[in-house]
Amino acid sequence: MKLYIKYDGIVACRVILQEQLERLEIKHKLLDLGEIEISDSVSDECFAELQAALNRYSIFIVNNEKSQLIQKIKDTIVEMIYQNDKLPAITISQYLSEKLNFSYGYLTNIFSENTYSSIENFIIIQKIERAKKLIIEDQLTLTEVSYKLNYSSVAYLSSQFKKVTGLTPSAFKRIVDKRRSLSNNNL
C-alpha cells in the first residue's frame, strides 16, 4: 500500500520545534515566520543538543543576521503564498517591505547577494510549487489554480509553469500520475 499525504510544512515545523524545546525544558515563545524567542539564557550544551535534535529534521538554527533576514523573506513569501486561500491582491514587494520593515530595494539586494536567485524568482518558484500541490493533491483545474494564485490567465500560469519546470501542467500531471501508478504497481 502506498499512502499519499498532504501536509502543512509550517505547522509540522512548529510542532517539532515545540516538542524539542519542551523536551529540553527551554522556556520559549514561538513567533511568526521561523523565529523563536528564548526567555532564559541557555547553556552551550543544551544549545548544541537542540541544534543536533533540530538538524535531524533539517531545521537549522540560523544565527547570522543576514541569513536570518533572508530566511524571514523566504518565510514571509511562503506564508503569503500558502496561508491564504487566495493570494492577496497587493504586490509582494509592498507586502514584504511592510511586513519586514525594510525597503524593498534593500531586501532584493540582500537576497540576490546571498542566494543564487532573486526575490521575484523565488516567488515564482514558490507559486509554481503551490500550483503543483493544487494540481496534484487538490485536483484543481488550471482555471481554479490560476484564480487562486492570482494569475491573470490560464495561459500565463501555464507559461510560467513551463518556465519553471520545462513542462506543461498537463505533462506534469501525467508524469506524476504515471510515477504514482508505477510505484503502486511495484508494491
Binding site: 488550471l142 490560464v154 495561459a155 501555464s158 507559461s159 513551463k162 506543461t168 498537463s170
Partner: protein, 596 residues
C-alpha cells in the same frame, strides 16, 4: 387461412379420413339392416297375400261344393258329385299350404286349426245332406233343415275366413306402410353413403394431388439445392463428410474426392482409406484428434495436409461437429476446406510482413542514426565552433572568422534538417496518444517557445480563441511551431510580420476531397500572415515532401516543414489547405474533426 392450414396438415387429414371411414361404415351398417328389414317385410306381405289367396280358394271350393250339392239335390244328376272327393283333397293341399304360410304365426296356426275343424264339420254336413238327398225317401223337411244348417254354417265359415283374411289384409297394410318408410330411409342412407364416399374420394384425391405436387416441388428444390451445393463445393473448394457413429459408416461428398485429386466416389469412404492420403507428419495427430472427438463429442477444427496422388500438397481446414440424425443416431458431420491458396498467401504475407518489419527496423535505426548519431558529431562541431568563437576570436583573421561563420551557418542548417527529419519520422511512427487539449494554451506555449524569433522579427502575434480538441498534443505543437515559424521565416522585408491564429466558423460551401466539411463535424483553425506568400497554383505543392518554393539563400528551409504539417493533420483525420497571394500573405486553414 386457418382452414387451409389444417388442410395442409396431414395429421389432421388422417384423423378426418378415419372419422369419415367410420361414418361410412356406420351408414353402411344402417343401410344393411334397413335392407334386411325391407326384405323381411316383403316376405311378410307376400306370405299374407298368399294366405289370403289360399283361404279364398278354400272358401270358393266350399261354395262350389255347396252349389254342386244343391244342383244334385235339385237335378239328382250324379255328375255334380263326381269331383267331390277330389275337391276335398284340393282343400287338404290348400290347408297344407296355408299351414306352411302361417307356420310363423302361432295365432294364425290356431285359426287354421279351427278352420280345419270348421271344414271337417262342414264336410260332415255335406255328407249328411248328401245322405239325406240320396235316401230313397227324402224327408224334405229334414233335408231343408239340413240345408239350412249347412247354409248357416257356410255363412259362419265364410265370416270366419273373411275375418282371417281381413286380419291378414291389415297386417299387409301395416307392413306395407312400414315398407314405404323403410324404403325412404334406405334411399336417404344410400344417397348419404354415396355422397360421403364421393366427398372423401374427392378430398383424398385433392390432398393426394397437393401432396404429390408439394413432394415434387420439394424434390425439385432438393435436387436444385444438391446441385448448387455440389457446385458451391466445387467453386468454394470444400467437401463435406459424414460419419454415422452407430453404424460406423463414412460418406464423403463428390468434391471431397476432387479435393484429393480423385474422381468422385473413387474409393469406399472409411477412416482407413482416407488416412492413406493424409500427410505422414499429420496422420497421427489428425487420427488422434478425430478418434478423441468420437468419444468426447467435442467439435474438431484441424488443419492438416493431404498428399495428392500427383504428389502435390493440399492444405485443408477440417471442421467437424456432432449432431443426431432423424433416427436419433449420433452423427459427425463436417467440412474440409481447401486452404492451400490461403496458406500460401499467408506465408507470402508473413514473408512480406517480415520484410516490412525489417525495412521498418532499418528505417528506425536510420532514424536513430539521424536523430542521435548524426546529431552528436554535429553538435560537437557546433560546440567547438562556439568555443573557438568565444575564446580564440582574437587570434583569428577576419577571413577565418568569415569561414567560421559559414561553418556555423551550414552546421545549423544541417541541424535543422536533421531535426525536421526526426520530426517527420515521428509523425509516421510513435505513440499517438489523443488527449483533450486546450489549443489556445498549446499555441500559447508555442509562441512562448518561439519568443526569441518573434522578438527578433518584431512580429506581432494575435492569438484568438481556440477550441479544446482531442489531439496528439506534441504533434499539434509541432504543427503550430512549423506554421508560425514559417510565417516568421517567409516574412516580407521591411514589413513587421503579423500573424493571427484564430478559429472560425466553417462556411457552408467548404469542400475538401469531395467531402463537404460542415461546422457540425469540424473545427476550423486559421493561421494567417502577411508574408511573401506564393502563387495559388502552388497551394497543393507546398505540402509535398522536399518541395521548396523559395530557393534563394535569403530563405532557408528544409522542405519538410509543411509536409510535416500535412502528416500531422492527416494523423488527426483532418485537412489542411492554404490560400496565398504573393506579397500579400498566406492563410493556412486546418480542419480538425470534432469527434476524434
Amino acid at each position: 387461412m386457418k382452414l387451409a392450414k389444417l388442410y395442409k396438415n396431414s395429421q389432421v387429414f388422417k384423423i378426418a379420413l378415419g372419422i369419415a371411414i367410420a361414418v361410412v361404415g356406420y351408414i353402411a351398417c344402417v343401410f344393411y339392416t334397413q335392407m334386411r328389414s325391407l326384405d323381411s317385410s316383403v316376405d311378410i306381405i307376400t306370405n299374407a297375400t298368399e294366405t289370403q289367396l289360399e283361404l279364398e280358394r278354400v272358401l270358393s271350393i266350399i261354395s262350389i261344393y255347396e252349389t254342386n250339392l244343391r244342383s244334385y239335390i235339385i237335378t239328382k244328376d250324379e255328375s255334380y258329385l263326381e269331383k267331390r272327393f277330389l275337391r276335398r283333397g284340393e282343400i287338404e293341399t290348400n290347408l297344407k299350404r296355408i299351414n306352411v304360410l302361417v307356420a310363423n304365426n302361432p295365432a294364425r296356426v290356431k285359426d287354421v286349426k279351427r278352420l280345419n275343424k270348421l271344414i271337417d264339420y262342414r264336410f260332415k254336413l255335406f255328407r249328411e245332406t248328401l245322405l239325406l238327398a240320396k235316401s230313397k225317401m227324402p224327408n224334405s223337411e229334414v233335408l231343408n233343415a239340413k240345408l239350412q244348417e249347412s247354409n248357416d254354417f257356410t255363412e259362419l265359415m265364410k265370416n270366419y275366413v273373411y275375418k282371417t283374411i281381413n286380419a291378414e289384409g291389415d297386417k299387409v297394410k301395416i307392413h306395407n306402410n312400414n315398407h314405404q318408410f323403410e324404403l325412404q330411409d334406405s334411399i336417404i342412407s344410400a344417397f348419404l353413403l354415396v355422397i360421403l364416399s364421393l366427398l372423401i374420394l374427392l378430398l383424398s384425391f385433392n390432398k393426394m394431388n397437393v401432396d404429390i405436387y408439394e413432394l415434387k416441388r420439394a424434390n425439385d428444390e432438393l435436387k436444385f439445392l444438391n446441385h448448387s451445393f455440389n457446385n458451391a463445393e466445387k467453386i468454394a473448394g470444400f467437401g463435406h463428410w459424414k460419419i454415422n457413429l452407430e453404424t460406423n459408416t463414412y460418406s464423403f461428398s463428390d468434391n471431397f474426392f476432387r479435393l484429393l485429386g480423385l474422381e468422385p466416389q473413387s474409393f469406399v469412404p472409411s477412416l482407413e482409406n482416407i488416412s492413406k492420403y493424409v500427410h505422414p507428419d499429420d496422420i497421427e495427430y489428425v487420427t488422434q484428434m478425430h478418434l478423441d472427438s468420437l468419444v468426447s463429442y467435442n467439435p474438431t477444427s484441424l488443419m492438416y495436409r493431404f498428399v495428392l496422388p500427383n504428389g502435390d500438397l493440399k492444405y485443408v481446414m477440417s471442421v467437424g461437429s456432432f449432431t443426431r440424425n432423424g433416427k436419433g443416431q449420433m452423427v459427425k458431420t463436417g467440412v474440409n476446406y481447401d486452404m492451400t491458396e490461403q496458406y500460401k498467401r499467408t506465408i507470402e504475407l508473413e514473408e512480406n510482413n517480415k520484410e516490412l518489419i525489417s525495412i521498418n527496423e532499418e528505417l528506425e535505426s536510420f532514424n536513430n542514426i539521424v536523430s542521435h548519431d548524426l546529431q552528436e558529431p554535429l553538435r560537437k562541431i557546433q560546440m567547438f565552433i562556439s568555443r573557438i568563437e568565444s575564446t580564440e576570436v582574437d587570434s583569428i583573421s577576419e577571413k577565418g572568422k568569415g569561414y567560421f561563420y559559414k561553418i556555423r551557418t551550414s552546421a545549423n542548417k544541417m541541424q535543422t534538417l536533421l531535426i525536421d527529419l526526426v520530426n517527420y519520422s515521428r509523425t509516421i511512427k510513435g505513440d499517438k496518444v489523443f488527449e483533450n487539449t486546450d489549443l489556445k494554451e498549446l499555441v500559447y506555449h508555442v509562441i512562448d517557445d518561439l519568443s526569441s524569433d518573434i522578438e527578433e522579427k518584431k512580429a506581432k502575434i494575435d492569438l484568438g480563441d481556440l477550441p479544446t480538441v482531442k489531439v496528439i498534443s506534441f504533434q499539434m505543437e509541432q504543427l503550430f511551431i512549423n506554421l508560425i515559424s514559417n510565417s516568421l521565416k517567409y516574412s516580407q522585408e521591411d514589413v513587421a510580420p503579423e500573424i493571427s491564429i484564430f478559429s472560425e466558423k466553417i462556411d457552408k460551401n467548404e469542400v475538401f476531397d469531395n467531402e463537404i466539411i460542415t461546422d457540425q463535424d469540424y473545427y476550423k483553425i486559421v493561421v494567417k500572415d502577411n508574408g511573401i506568400g506564393f502563387k495559388q497554383e502552388y497551394a497543393e505543392k507546398v505540402f509535398i515532401l522536399f518541395q521548396r518554393l523559395e530557393t534563394g539563400s535569403k530563405y532557408s528551409g528544409t522542405g519538410l516543414g509543411l509536409a510535416i504539417c500535412k502528416r500531422i493533420v492527416d494523423n488527426h483525420n483532418g485537412f489542411i489547405k492554404v490560400i496565398s497571394e504573393p506579397n500579400v500573405g498566406s492563410t493556412f486553414s486546418i480542419f480538425l474533426p470534432k469527434k476524434a
